[in-house]
């Protein structure tokens, strides 16, 4: 716990934050403790002018549909905003993170005194920092000009993840007595798409809500489904442009039997479906689907508001190697230190140049030429960005610690204290792995050729083509390997068992 963190207990039987407070506190980071407790609603219902910043356009649309509040996204004109401001006494604006500069421009300096600024789901500032840096840095550089502000989430950023512009803010946390725990079943799969398709065909008496942050993954799965499957895909407008012949719908469209969501709906959106069951897919082959268990899982668990299955969750994941793997922590830290040195030297040298030379040179520069991952271009200057370095370090830890094995997933989930994960669930393997294990002598060390011979009939039975990738996938969750010298010759040997 941070030394300036204040914990407030909320008694059993309380469902909403509005039963405890009428206004959000100011000048702090607010940890709601649980999702779906109506934190944003407290601000919407308060008797003051508010600007609520949320991460996605879908979230704006979702809240505008439910509440009497004005939504500002990129396509809303200045005139419309001015008309709303003129005719409304207590102004309630919900906008995407990107829209803050537009609101400051339209409302002018009085915005800082007259409006309460709520940065909702603020953990996204960290999670999306590397690819939405401009609007996020704008918020970080300007929030303190507001007389009253609050950063709110149910999954606060801690340690390395706390952006340096927020270090000094006190944290207020709500601790809900008797909050429901979520039962998570984890399935480590060699063929994650096939496993998901099987789950889809099983969903007869309930609806599936599948959260996966890769439109290409969704496209591939949808193409494997029969024509009769009733499905929809919720994704950003930009992603939708690439989804030809896929049923892309808005967040407010009717729930279907099978519902896919990209990150546009991971945070904050309310989904109403009494028969909805959640699945999280995390394919460590695709960097965008890597989830930080402590944040995104909690967020996703809170999306289904009224389902009889809202306390259950299935996670499909694979624990195979990722690009951050293959380097020991020491090796990785060396690379980080090298980048840091290079970055801070580049920043110093470049910014010492006279304005004319610097600006001319900078315009010719692209980010790949900076020589360090942690350098950014801002206001005609190069800046060494500590946040980028922390994100790099955090990503390494996520991939290597959380995703290395099933056990560490379990540990990470338990650490958050909102989940029950049964020990047995971590032994759950997909059918192929089980069949391979049955045919395996678990004491034996196999050569690669022996391994292929063992697996070939099992894969052929399932019409899976035999090649180095499919063999690797089939055994990845049950295999350990080592290099051995036999008769003076070095070769890789493989053992198959439950790790």
């Amino acid at each position: 716990m941070k030394s300036d963190e204040k914990v407030i207990n909320i008694k059993k039987g309380t469902s909403y934050l509005s039963e405890v407070i009428k206004e959000l506190p100011s000048g702090c980071i607010l940890n709601k403790g649980i999702t779906g407790c109506g934190g944003t609603t407290v601000e919407i219902d308060s008797k003051r002018n508010s600007i609520i910043l949320v991460p996605t356009k879908n979230l704006v649309l979702n809240k505008v549909k439910q509440k009497n509040i004005f939504g500002v996204t990129g396509d809303v004109k200045e005139k419309e905003i001015l008309e709303y401001l003129e005719k409304t006494k207590i102004k309630k604006i919900i906008a995407t993170y990107d829209a803050l500069s537009k609101l400051i421009y339209i409302i002018g300096p009085k915005i800082y005194l007259d409006y309460f600024l709520l940065i909702d789901e603020y953990h996204i500032l960290f999670n999306s920092y590397s690819f939405r840096r401009r609007p996020i840095r704008y918020i970080l550089n300007n929030y303190a000009k507001f007389d009253k502000f609050c950063f709110m989430t149910a999954t606060p950023l801690k340690g390395k993840k706390l952006l340096e512009e927020l270090y000094h803010l006190p944290i207020i946390s709500y601790d809900w007595e008797g909050a429901n725990k979520v039962d998570i079943t984890i399935k480590d799969c060699a063929f994650i798409q096939k496993e998901l398709v099987q789950e889809i065909y099983k969903a007869k008496d309930y609806n599936l809500h599948i959260f996966v942050n890769s439109v290409n993954f969704i496209k591939r799965v949808v193409k494997q489904l029969d024509n009769g499957i009733d499905y929809r895909v919720i994704c950003s407008e930009k992603a939708a442009e690439t989804m030809t012949s896929i049923n892309v719908q808005s967040i407010n469209s009717e729930v279907r039997n099978i519902n896919f969501y990209t990150s546009t709906a991971f945070e904050g959106c309310d989904i109403y479906d009494e028969k909805g069951m959640s699945i999280i897919v995390s394919d460590s082959d695709i960097s965008t689907t890597i989830l930080d268990i402590t944040t995104l899982v909690i967020q996703i668990c809170g999306r289904l508001r009224n389902s009889i299955y809202k306390d259950k969750l299935l996670m499909l994941l694979n624990t195979r190697k990722h690009r951050y793997c293959g380097n020991s922590k020491e090796e990785f830290l060396e690379k980080v230190a090298e980048n840091k040195l290079l970055g801070s030297n580049t920043e110093k040298m470049f910014n010492e140049e006279d304005d004319w030379f610097r600006i001319k040179e900078l315009r010719a520069y692209t980010e790949s030429k900076f020589g360090s991952f942690y350098i950014i271009k801002e206001n005609e200057k190069l800046i060494f960005d500590n946040n980028l370095m922390n994100i790099d370090l955090e990503n390494y830890d996520i991939i290597n610690s959380i995703y290395e094995t099933n056990i560490s997933v379990l540990n990470e989930v338990v650490r958050t204290d909102k989940f029950n994960v049964e020990e047995s669930s971590i032994k759950k393997l997909d059918d192929i792995s089980i069949e391979i294990l049955k045919a395996t002598d678990i004491m034996k060390e196999y050569t690669y050729d022996e391994l292929v011979m063992l697996i070939t009939p099992i894969l052929e039975n399932r019409n899976i083509k035999i090649n180095i990738t499919t063999v690797g996938k089939a055994v990845s969750s049950i295999m350990s390997k080592k290099r051995k010298t036999t008769n003076g010759k070095k070769q890789m040997t493989y053992k198959l068992n439950l790790r």
Partner: protein, 75 residues
């Protein structure tokens, strides 16, 4: 003889009080000048290429995501 004048771009806070803009018009800092207007439009295009949105253009001043940008002669 042709005289060359240098033009610079000045940055101002986006939260600038609108009264100050009126004052700048009165003091002829914001002016109808073909060259300055052309410079600021080109600058706006440059910003756009970097993904920075321009909210509005008026004479020799633009309001952008990064603040107001004003084109003026250095002398």
């Amino acid at each position: 003889m042709e005289t060359k004048r240098k033009v610079s771009i000045f940055g101002l806070e986006l939260s600038l009080d609108k009264k100050l803009l009126i004052e700048m018009v009165e003091r002829k800092i914001i002016v109808d000048d073909k060259i300055l207007n052309e410079v600021i439009i080109n600058y706006s295009k440059e910003l756009e290429a970097q993904g920075i949105e321009t909210f509005s253009i008026d004479r020799n001043i633009i309001a952008t995501e990064n603040g107001y940008k004003l084109a003026a002669y250095e002398d």
